[in-house]
Symmetry: C2
Subunit: 125 residues, 2 copies
């Protein structure tokens, strides 16, 4: 299995592609600009680099190229978590989970969702 390691900017674009599906550079740039100023050619360059890296694929049939994510959301996030856990929590994912949970205010609904995930995990073992 290959290792995906998108940069922060790349990840920002991947989130858009995961949510919106295949998109043009214009679409993506417009969405990015609802949050912060980004030049069109900046976004374009990023997409080209992501294409080279194999993070996205593009359809160049029409003049306006259409990009879609190649890497899957879950897989990518799992890789990111695993790197993050290694760098910041010395390998202990549970450590991260506990700290993230303790640091956040959670709703009753979220907590009960979490509890049922735990129940599932307990049944697996």
């Amino acid at each position: 299995m290959t290792k995906f390691k998108p940069t922060d900017s790349e990840l920002e674009i991947l989130h858009i592609l995961w949510e919106k599906g295949a998109s043009s550079v214009r679409d993506i740039n417009d969405l990015l600009n609802t949050r912060r100023d980004v030049g069109y050619t900046t976004t374009l360059k990023l997409m080209q680099i992501m294409n080279e890296k194999g993070l996205v694929k593009r359809d160049t049939a029409a003049r306006t190229h259409i990009y879609k994510a190649v890497v899957r959301e879950n897989e990518t996030k799992n890789n990111l978590i695993s790197d993050f856990v290694n760098v910041a929590f010395q390998g202990s994912a549970m450590n991260l989970v506990m700290q993230a949970l303790g640091n956040t205010s959670s709703s009753v609904e979220e907590l009960s969702e979490l509890k049922s995930l735990i129940a599932k995990l307990e049944n697996k073992s």
Copy 2:
């Protein structure tokens, strides 16, 4: 409150300082070299930069300077989590928690520890 954003290398050093307490560059470099090759002056430079940034403080009374972490482990990790959640999980810490948990194999002990944390959180609300 100031925002700490240690880089990966800086974090690696902070972990050592948090665990071992105040240390010389030599101490730290030796520990780093149990994992990978790092030149002594590379580590030295890093420590000097961390000092400038205010991540560490040093005692220069003796020829061999002694460095200690200024930023606290919990606070730093919370900042890291919060950044990570923003970049990779679009702000939802619970999302991160669920995915990290689902992606990891957890022991019965860990899960019950987690459950008691959840119980605590439930009582708070």
